[in-house]
Each structure stands twice: as C-alpha cells, then as structure tokens.
Amino acid sequence: MTQKGRPLLEVDGLVMRYQTKKGEVSAIENVSFTLHQGESLGLVGESGCGKTSIAMSLMGLAADNARYHAGQIRLDGENLLALDENAMRKRRWKSISMVFQGAMNSWNPVYKVGDQIREAIDLHFNPRLSEAASKDRMVRLFEMVGLNPTMLGRYPHEFSGGMRQRAVIAMALSCDPKLIIADEPTTALDVIVQDQILKELKKIQDQLGMSLIYISHDIAVIAEVTDTIGVMYAGKLVEYGSTLEVFQRPRHPYAYLLLSSTPSITGPRRKLAPLEGEPPNLLDPPTGCRFHPRCPFATDKCVVDEPPLEDLGGGHKVACWHWDKVPVTIGASA
C-alpha cells in the first residue's frame, strides 16, 4: 500500500443472498472495500465464507438464484450491478478477467488453446485486431507466462496441469484487463509449480500495473502475492488491513486462529492452535457476531450484538468486540 493510484474498484455495503427452497442463504453480508489501481488484495476464509460469491458478483456471473439486497460494485465509478446483461458482457474480460478455481478444466477440450484465447481477443478489441496482430499478442502473452508459443496450436489435453494454468493466466491477460480475479488458481497443482506460478503472477502484475484480487483459503499463499488482506467469515469481512499488519498482528480471533493453525517454516517454533468447530449454517446464521460459537474470547455481548468494522488506525479494520484480548503473534512471516 505504498503508492496509491486512483480507486479502481469500490465495493460498498454489498449484501447478496441465495434464494433456495429451504430459505435464504446469506452469502455476502455488508461487505465494503476499495481497491486502487495497481494494488493487490487477498481474500481469505474457509470454503463457503463468501469469497467466491464476491468474485462471481464482480464478474456479474452470480448464480440465477442470487439476489442483491443492498450495496454497489463500482468499477471506475460505474455501478456494475446496475448494468444490463449486454453491457456487463462487454466489461467481462475487457475490464475484469478471471483465473478460475480448478483452472485445469477451464479449457474447452475440443478447441486449440490459441483459438480459445483468440476468441476473447476478437470479441473485445474494437476495432478488431488483424490476424497477425492478435497472433503477435498471443505469442507475447505466452512468452510472458513462460510457455513456448508453439503450444498455441495445441489442444488443452496436450498441456500439463501447470502449463494449463499458465495458459489460463495468459488468456486472462489477453485483453489488458484493469483487474484480474484469481480464485484459488493453484489449488490443484503441486507445491513447486504452485510457487512458480505465484511468482510469475506477482511479477506480471507489477510489470503491467494492473490490480489483482487473489482468493484463497491459504493465508500463507495470499501473503506472498498481495498488499492488502481481507479476512472473511460467514459472508462478512471481519478483518481488513495491510498484509504485513494482518499477518503480524491479527486482531480478529478468527484471523488469529487461521494464522496459528498454519505452520511457519522460517519463523520461530510454536504450538499450532487448531480451529475448532464447524463453519456456520448460513441458512440460519448465528446471532450477534457470527464467529461467537467457535470463538475462545466470546462473551454474552458477542451473542447479542453485532460488532462493527472498526478502524484501529492505519487502515487496519476489525469487526470484534474483544480485539484487544487477542494475543500478539510474533514473527509469523511467509
């Protein structure tokens, strides 16, 4: 968060719920954050905490049964939620592109990888790029992500997992988006490839100066690529701040427990504190603070009153009544 550009993405009081037969499932509860140009934000939390719902809302691809009850998603000041499907379609990939969870299957098996990238380029460049220009662009993209450009003429099944993921990143970059959302892009890969790709992603992001939202359940991975971290629990943003701050001095008990349950190789030896209990049932979320059933610091107040997202200074925000009781973790670095 050293040099701030103008605000690129502003999510403001977003509330989204899924309409199901059993009732409303609360997926995103009053989430707000701002992302500046060139900045990277990590969203971390357990599965089902609403991170992917946020990503899908940003893309305008939330499931059919999703209902927005409040809030705005502004990209360059324009409210995306107010756009119709046609207008939104023009923004996709051009303004915001995405690297998906399980990118292994992101490729259509019957088309060549190059043709699938070209499809996006043909659609979003106005005037249309000439055949040679788009070919040239794809070659540069492939070189950027460390792939041999001859692979453009190959089919997805001829790529290894790591190569497919690199190609997905190349495709995400193909239309010069202002923002890339990466949703658990490395989960299915082995650790070494995972690390290579993370570094590659970080490098490209710095190089091209675009913004990045990185979504993962693994806080260590997030710390490696992002400037800012948002910790989500049960559809709410419970802690938000610079990566360094949150990582070294987590103030929310959930963030604290998440970090304590992650072993650190470089930091001092410490006992791992497991996170106990089950994620809440979002059909009927707990009252007050949603974390209270699993929280070691919970009091009666937590059961009744919902803590607001409070600024502790320096942009470090936390939603907890007892943030001052959370111990200070020392030296947990990635």
Partner: protein
C-alpha cells in the same frame, strides 16, 4: 487418421466374417434341412446325389461349409431366391439397396439434426414449460409402439387428411408409358443429390482455407443456397418432373415417420448430455470471457454435448434399422426391409439370410462411420492416434 480408419475397417471386416459365420451356423441349426430334401430325393441316382453334395460343399465338415458360405458372401454370391427364381439374391438386393440406404440415411440425418438442435435448446431453457412438454413428448415418442405409431401416421396423413399416398413406391397410373423406370429415375435423383452435397462440401472446405475469414463466410453463405437452387431448378425443368414428384411424394411419409421416432431419442439424449456439459468449468470460462449466449450455447456447450450423441449413433443404428424395416413393411415401400419381411413370411431362406447379411453390413458401415466422425470431433482421440 488414415491409419485409424484402416484399423477400424480391418476390425469391421473380421466382425463381418464372424457375423456371417454365425448366420450360417444358424441356418444349419434349423430343424429340417432344406438341402437335405434336395439330395434325399429318391428319383436322383446316387451319382447325381454325390455330385450335388460336392457342389453344395456338403461333403465338407461344418467348418469348411461355414468358410465356404463366408467366402461366397464376400464374392457377392448370395445364392438363388426360392420364391423369385431365376433372380439371384444379389440382383434382388442390388435393386433395392439404394432405396433402403436413402431411407435410413435421410431419416438418420434428419432426426439427428432436428433432435440435436431442439435438445440443446431444451437444456438451455431448462425449467420452462416448453421444456417439460418436449420432454414428455420425447419420452412418448421414444417408447411408443412403433408399428402402431406408423399405422396411425399412415391413417392420419394418408387417409384422413389425404396429404400423402397410402404407401407404395410409385403411383402406377402416372408411370404408364413413361420412358424411364422408377428405379432408374430414383438412382438419377440420388446421384444428382450426391453431386450437390459434394459441391456444398467442397465450398465449405475451400472457404475454410481462404485467407480471410469474412470472405470465406460470404462464399459459404452464397455458395450453399446457390447449389440447392441449382439442384431444384435442374429437376424442375427435367422432362420427368411429374414422375420425380411422384417418387418424392411416396417417399416423404415413410421418411417423416421414421425420423420422428428417432428424433425423440436423439432429443432426450442431447438434452441430458447438454445439461451435463453446462456444468463444466469451461462454460463458466466462456461466460467470463463475455461471449454471447448463442456462442456459449452453440460453440462451447453444444459442441461438447455432441460427442456422446455421436457415440449413441452406434446404439441408435439398431433402432433405425429395426424401425426402417417396419416402416417399409407398413408403407409397402419396396426396400430391403420389406423384402426381408416378405422373404421371411414366404420362408425364402436364401433371400432372407442374404438380406440380413447386407443389413449387417449396413450396420457395420454406420458403426465405422460413427467411430470416424467421433474421432474427427474429439481432438483427445484424434491427436493420440
């Protein structure tokens, strides 16, 4: 790719030989051997009996006789028909083969084209009442008792509405004094249709090779209708126009009826295949790329949903052939199926088994074509060959 096709062809020939061998064993297994009656004729002197025995290959062991039968079949010698002597089975089959192939091919293409187009829309519009109605109609069409359905179709369109003739191949009155026979004209019709489709295919291949995609598209969109118009005009100004019209008029209802029933199965299958494809991750990617609904549906989802549908062609062949035989029988449309039925009812065994053998070859050919088409459509198989 050629290697793969070659491999499939050799496999197919082996399977065919095995099928013919089994067919012959079936003939041998029947109670009351017909050849025995010929030989055991007391009026024949013993030398003649031996000669006959040798000629029929009856002195050989079972394996040799089976081998003989298979070899003869491959050489095109299918024996003599009992009921239509002196016609050989080969001649009779050859006369009717083009008709049956036309019926099977048109019905298959029509039902697959329509079934696939409708099935993909059904999956796309899941949950609408139109989808429910089509699904119910599809199940009804798929499970309806086919001969009964065909009779009702014939009654409705041939009798009650009087749109189509009541079966048969031609209207004899129209053809009295005609310079050509129905079969000649039918073959002409087929050959010209073949040339026209070849022209369309050529246009497509050439236009894809063109440097500019726009020019290619224009060549396609002008060339294809041009060929079709030329084809129609050619027959319109043909001196035998009325006769051709009569042929087509008689062929229409059998083709429509057979297509309708096959269509239901294809539609249901496409729907479920498409529903599975729509859940795939690459569909989400396609959406995220900002592609139009139409492009997502047709280029991405339907293109993949097509694969299991092509595989199903192998299973559907049996269905098409069975349905085709019944259609020919019910509409008295003189193809191989009708001949098989008549031969069976008259116990003309050489004709019946010969026809069955040819139908087996048709099934096998369809099978191999479906395999090759699948290979062409699925790069995962194509590139591994």
């Amino acid at each position: 790719m050629l290697k793969y096709v070659g491999k499939r062809l050799i496999q197919g020939l082996l399977l065919l030989a095995l099928f013919l061998a089994l067919l012959y064993l079936l003939l041998e297994a029947q109670p009351g051997d017909i050849t025995q009656q010929l030989i055991a004729n007391p009026q024949l002197p013993p030398e003649a009996q031996t000669m006959l025995r040798e000629r029929l290959g009856l002195d050989q062991p079972l394996l040799g006789r089976t081998f003989n039968y298979v070899v003869n079949f491959f050489q095109g010698d299918l024996g003599l028909s009992f009921t239509q002597y002196p016609n050989t089975v080969g001649q009779l089959i050859l006369e009717r083969l083009p008709r049956t192939i036309t019926l099977f091919l048109t019905a298959t293409l029509l039902s697959y084209y329509l079934g696939f187009s409708l099935g993909k829309i059904m999956a796309w519009k899941r949950g609408r009442s139109f989808e429910t109605a089509l699904t119910l109609g599809g199940v009804a069409g798929y499970t309806v008792f086919y001969p009964w359905f065909a009779i009702l179709m014939l009654w409705l369109f041939g009798f009650a509405l009087n749109w189509f003739p009541l079966g048969k191949f031609i209207d004899v009155q129209e053809w009295t004094g005609a310079a050509v026979t129905a079969n000649q004209l039918f073959i002409q019709l087929l050959v010209t249709a073949f040339i026209a489709s070849f022209a369309v295919l050529a246009i497509h291949i050439v236009s894809r090779r063109l440097s500019s995609e726009d020019l290619g598209g224009r060549v396609r969109s002008i060339g294809t209708p041009l060929v079709i118009v030329a084809y129609v005009l050619f027959w319109w100004f043909n001196p035998n126009r009325v006769l051709v019209g009569d042929l087509l008029h008689h062929t229409a209802l059998p083709v429509i009826t057979l297509s309708m029933v096959n269509f239901a199965g294809v539609m249901l299958l496409t729907r479920s295949s498409m529903l599975e494809t729509l859940r795939e991750d690459y569909i989400l990617t396609a959406r995220a790329k900002g592609l139009s609904e139409r492009s997502i549906r047709d280029d991405h989802a339907a293109r993949n949903a097509l694969l299991p549908v092509v595989t199903s062609l192998v299973l559907a062949l049996s269905f098409v052939i069975g349905g085709g035989i019944l259609t020919e029988g019910i509409f008295s449309w003189p193809g191989l199926g009708q001949m098989l039925l008549n031969a069976t009812l008259l116990e003309d065994l050489p004709l019946a088994t010969g026809t069955l053998g040819i139908i087996g070859i048709l099934a096998l050919t369809g099978h191999i074509i479906a395999d090759v088409v699948y290979m062409y459509l699925d790069p995962r198989i194509r590139t591994s060959q």
